[in-house]
């Protein structure tokens, strides 16, 4: 096991490793509960009361209530679990993606239609000018 997390050099990216999974266990399991229609209804009716049933940290709870997805990820959330909050809110995945990237949904959709975010210049914090690599 490498002492250094090589993937922490990738900009704008949080890899869901053991440490983050442990920190985010209750947050992600709360998200999992939203797979059931009755739980979605209870959550929508009173978010604070519903969250009282889950052992979230104050930072996780605030991030959920604010729908701050980057903050949820920073506190152990995994996007496949977090997207269930988006589904509960009736939001598309592109809406969530735009929110996390700090652009409008229209701008984000236009970027994807134009071929997506380029890899060149987006692969390394240490080497920000690195080009796109191949497999």
């Amino acid at each position: 096991m490498p002492a250094e997390k090589d993937y922490d050099d990738v900009p704008g990216t949080t890899v869901f490793d053991a440490e983050r999974s442990r920190a985010g266990y209750h947050l992600n399991q709360f998200c999992m509960s939203l797979m059931k229609a009755e739980n979605r209804a209870r959550f929508k009716a009173d978010e604070e009361a519903y969250l009282d049933g889950w052992k979230l940290t104050p930072a996780q709870r605030a991030a959920v209530l604010a729908r701050d997805y980057n903050a949820m990820i920073a506190n152990g959330g995994n996007i496949y679990f977090l997207s269930k909050i988006g589904a509960t809110d009736g939001k598309s995945f592109q809406y969530l993606a735009a929110l996390m990237t700090g652009t409008t949904q229209e701008e984000y959709a236009a970027m994807m239609l134009a071929g997506g975010r380029p890899a060149a210049g987006n692969t390394s914090k240490k080497a920000p000018s690195a080009g796109a690599g191949e497999a």
Binding site: N28, Q29, G115, G116, A119, A132, A135
Partner: protein, 284 residues
């Protein structure tokens, strides 16, 4: 005996399923994507596989953080399309192939691949979207399916090398099954995409093209690519591509490409598709 006659690589973007289910597949946005699968649909209707071993990943649907099997094989009679939070997809129930599935399970475990056996497994878009892409919208799926779920959500997923070798063990298992069955193996997920954080939307066509090329030209070298390269170059969710190496391993040492398709975007993702034939394939 049973034979693996072809391998298919295919993305499994959920928005593709939603487009089909909501009759938006004729929208200009989606037309080129679905057109890219017309050739495969015609081909597979001729091939008539009996069973598909469908390598996919569960997206926090049947597996939460309570249990995280690295490899989980579905041995049930049938598999229900899962409710992923907005009701199940209105697609046929997936019929299993328990005789072959149990044979594979026992064979690969004795071959030292210690998989998890699942007698109940609801299947999400990771499995049903590739089915829709290959078979459209039939009343019943024309093939039996053995789901093989791979963990790619909790880091680390299995290595590419492990996946390639596991595919080889699956080939040995299939070839030791006495019944004459036409078996395909599909590797799904990918290609380049990232769904999380400020770098969401990453696409890397050069990476994807090289990955498709190396499935035939250099599978062993490709299997040695470390996880960091996938994450860096193909996005944090692009690491799903390790699942294609299980498919590739099951085709034997040499394979040839029949055709491929590549399209950007489907929602947040680069869609890749390839059809491969084992080099030792003999027309029936």
């Amino acid at each position: 005996m049973a034979r693996i006659t072809a391998g298919i690589g295919c993305s499994h973007v959920p928005a593709i399923g939603a487009a089909l289910d909501n009759a938006r597949d004729t929208d200009p946005y989606w037309v080129p994507l679905f057109a890219g699968f017309d050739r495969t649909k015609a081909w597979i209707a001729q091939e008539k596989p009996d069973v598909v071993i469908l390598v996919y990943n569960d997206h926090a649907t049947s597996f939460s953080l309570e249990m995280i099997p690295t490899f989980a094989l579905g041995t049930a009679e049938e598999f229900e399309p899962a409710d992923e939070g907005w009701g199940p997809r209105r697609v046929p129930v997936v019929q299993g192939a328990p005789d072959l599935a149990w044979h594979i399970a026992q064979s690969v475990i004795l071959d030292e691949y210690d998989i998890t056996i699942c007698n109940k497994l609801d299947v999400d878009h990771g499995l049903t979207v590739p089915m829709s892409l290959m078979f459209g919208q039939p009343e019943a799926w024309p093939v039996r399916v053995i789901p093989l779920a791979v963990n790619v959500v909790q880091y680390p997923p299995p290595t590419g090398n492990r996946c390639l070798n596991f595919g080889r063990a699956i080939r040995r298992a299939v070839e030791s099954f006495p019944e004459d069955l036409n078996v395909q193996i599909w590797g799904t997920g990918g290609m380049s995409h990232q769904l999380q954080g400020p770098r969401a939307g990453l696409i890397n066509r050069d990476f994807d093209t090289a990955f498709l090329d190396r499935l035939t030209s250099d599978p062993i070298g490709l299997s040695r690519m470390p996880h960091i390269d996938y994450i860096r170059q193909a996005g944090s969710e692009g690491i799903e591509l390790v699942m294609w190496l299980i498919m590739r391993g099951a085709l034997g040492e040499d394979a040839r490409e029949l055709f491929r398709f590549y399209h950007v975007p489907a929602s947040n993702t680069a869609v890749g598709h390839i059809v491969l034939r084992p080099a030792d394939f003999v027309e029936a």
